[in-house]
């Protein structure tokens, strides 16, 4: 990495723009973060209910396959044949009784163990694998797996602590708020390729400040505004966080006077689209970020996991899995589907976010000499806060980032 890479003096209230564009920083992130001692979101168990069901996804740059094993357990393997490296799985979702690589049909069981090598003993006493070739040494690369209430995480590192310790009690509690053990029902998928660095996505979600200002839609309908009850929780290391708010009224007050974007007379011609029912205690919105690749979205009744998939320094993919609960009635499912209009590539709310992230990357891509100014409610950060006029989640994120990245 260029020796010039010195983090600015003012610490995490500055973010040097080279962290968003330097290919060597990106390579180090893959090694230390995504292939490091982290728990990466990979699937909902509901996506692979039966033995042999599998899902193809990514952890950072690496494609992995999540498989429901015969014993009901879950296997996660790197999507790369142990023979000559083929990415054997090419379906988002599928079913197979065993894993067979197309090139030479090496075959693996549902735990990734190599069980078959054609002509291993040769043909007519000729060729074949050496006598000392042991199937056991040539299985697929298998990841460590953690499951909690129907959500599956995986890690390339054996050193990683248990998922519960990893999350820490305050975040775990908010995780369980949505994933409360009830069966989940997948409603569908949505995916976007955003021309921005992956960290911009976290900064965006860890930024309650912007919500009140950028999202005309949210602020006008009082879905999310700083002048409403807010709560911010951060784990002790700063890597995870959660932002909660409660819906307020569509009203101009002295406290939201700064919000130019509030349109008091904005109305919906199709109100059915936005007609939430109270479903979770206290807060109507709860956005939780789990290091290094997950956002848990609970905005009124629309629920989704948002998985961040890095695609080089300059872009990332956001993979949305919208879900409900097995015990949802038809009306609730309808509600979730209608409110989904707020989210995804065409979301009334998330359009703004995807667009500003693209603009951010354009602004910083050619400005390695400059830095972001992250001083709101700074310079430090606290694990618990009662308001959203803060950038402390972002500072916390970079505190941890710098440790892991040794920057």
């Amino acid at each position: 990495m260029r020796n010039s890479r010195q983090w600015p003096e003012r610490g995490v209230s500055r973010i040097p723009f080279w962290v968003y564009s330097d290919p060597e920083i990106y390579a180090r992130e893959q090694e230390r973060i995504f292939q490091g001692a982290s728990w990466n979101y990979v699937a909902l168990e509901a996506e692979i209910p039966h033995p042999g069901d599998y899902k193809r996804t990514y952890i950072g740059d690496k494609s992995v396959v999540v498989i429901r094993a015969g014993d009901g357990g879950v296997t996660v393997v790197e999507n790369r044949c142990a023979h000559r490296g083929l990415q054997f799985c090419q379906l988002h979702l599928g079913h197979a009784d065993e894993i067979m690589c197309p090139y030479h049909q090496w075959t693996y069981d549902l735990t990734g163990a190599l069980i078959g090598v054609p002509f291993r003993r040769g043909v007519k006493q000729q060729g074949g694998m050496p006598a000392d070739f042991s199937l056991a040494e040539h299985g697929l690369r298998r990841l460590k797996v953690a499951r909690r209430n129907g959500v599956v995480f995986a890690s390339f590192s054996d050193a990683v602590e248990s998922f519960e310790e990893y999350l820490t009690p305050p975040i775990l509690e908010l995780f369980d708020r949505v994933f409360d053990g009830r069966g989940l029902k997948v409603l569908g998928y949505s995916r976007q390729l955003t021309p921005g660095n992956w960290k911009l996505m976290f900064e965006n979600i860890k930024d309650p400040y912007h919500a009140s200002i950028l999202h005309v839609f949210l602020v006008s309908f009082g879905l999310n505004r700083v002048d409403q009850p807010n709560r911010v929780v951060i784990d002790r290391l700063g890597r995870h966080a959660s932002t909660m708010t409660s819906r307020g009224e569509q009203k101009r007050t002295e406290d939201n006077a700064d919000i130019r974007s509030l349109i008091e007379d904005l109305t919906l011609a199709g109100p059915a689209m936005l007609d939430p029912v109270r479903e979770f205690p206290q807060y109507t919105v709860c956005m939780t970020t789990v290091w290094p690749n997950l956002i848990i979205q609970q905005q009124s009744n629309t629920l989704a996991t948002r998985q961040i998939i890095t695609k080089g320094p300059g872009s990332f993919e956001l993979a949305w899995t919208f879900f409900g609960y097995d015990d949802d009635d038809e009306a609730m499912t309808q509600r979730r589907l209608r409110q989904a209009n707020l989210m995804g590539p065409s979301g009334y709310v998330s359009i703004d976010d995807s667009e500003v992230m693209a603009l951010a990357q354009q602004g910083i891509a050619h400005a390695s000499e400059a830095s972001a100014v992250v001083e709101l409610d700074g310079p430090g950060w606290r694990e618990e806060q009662a308001h959203g006029v803060t950038e402390s989640e972002i500072r916390a994120f970079y505190d941890y980032y710098r440790t892991v990245m040794d920057l």
């Binding site: 988002h92 979702l93 997948v186 409603l187 569908g188 998928y189 949505s190 995916r191 976007q192 390729l193 955003t194 021309p195 950028l214 005309v216 839609f217 006008s220 349109i263 904005l266 919906l268 011609a269 199709g270 109100p271 059915a272 689209m273 993919e317 919208f322 499912t333 589907l337 209608r338 989904a340 209009n341 995804g344 590539p345 065409s346 009334y348 359009i351 703004d352 995807s354 667009e355 500003v356 693209a358 603009l359």
Partner: protein, 166 residues
């Protein structure tokens, strides 16, 4: 052409011509960004959906874009004009292969393939998304309208945002 009867009565070739005019006017309206005129291409109530082919084929109900009435359509226009924050863009729509699937009550089922192209500031034009219109068309107030338009696109992945209707 007049009302439903006349419509129903049109011989296939005439029908095809009506459809070609309808799709041309529809895409023309959008290519020229006359979004305010867009809802009028639909009946009330109506169904307008944009869905990735993956969800569609798996029978998953989630849509990228869901409108169930004129109101929903109007709100989208408000979003484009007033509430959404986005970089300027131009979308060009090419439609081809209009197929008449058949009658379903008073509605004509049709399909057509499309390709949409996106142009952002200081960029060359690029393929945006491609896919299929799956429509139900009825005659109302002497013109043809979409009672239902389901747009199924081939790539699950969207190039960042899908802001303008297709």
């Amino acid at each position: 052409m007049r009302g439903a009867e006349t419509f129903r009565a049109l011989p296939p070739r005439e029908l095809r011509l009506e459809l070609e005019a309808l799709y041309a006017d529809y895409t023309g309206c959008l290519d020229e960004e006359r979004f305010e005129d867009w809802p009028a291409f639909f009946t009330e109530p109506c169904l307008y959906k944009i869905v990735p082919r993956d969800n569609f084929e798996r029978g998953l109900p989630l849509a990228t874009w869901l409108c169930e009435s004129q109101g929903y359509l109007l709100d989208r226009v408000t979003g484009i004009r007033k509430t959404s924050v986005y970089a300027p863009r131009r979308i060009r729509r090419i439609v081809s292969g209009i197929r008449i699937i058949g009658w379903n009550g008073d509605a004509l089922e049709t399909r057509a393939s499309f390709a949409a192209f996106e142009t952002l500031i200081d960029e060359l034009t690029r393929v945006f998304i491609v896919g299929e219109h799956r429509d139900r068309i009825v005659a109302a107030d002497g013109v043809l309208k979409f009672r239902e338009k389901v747009i199924v696109f081939d790539s699950l992945l969207v190039p960042n945002s899908l802001i303008y209707p297709l």
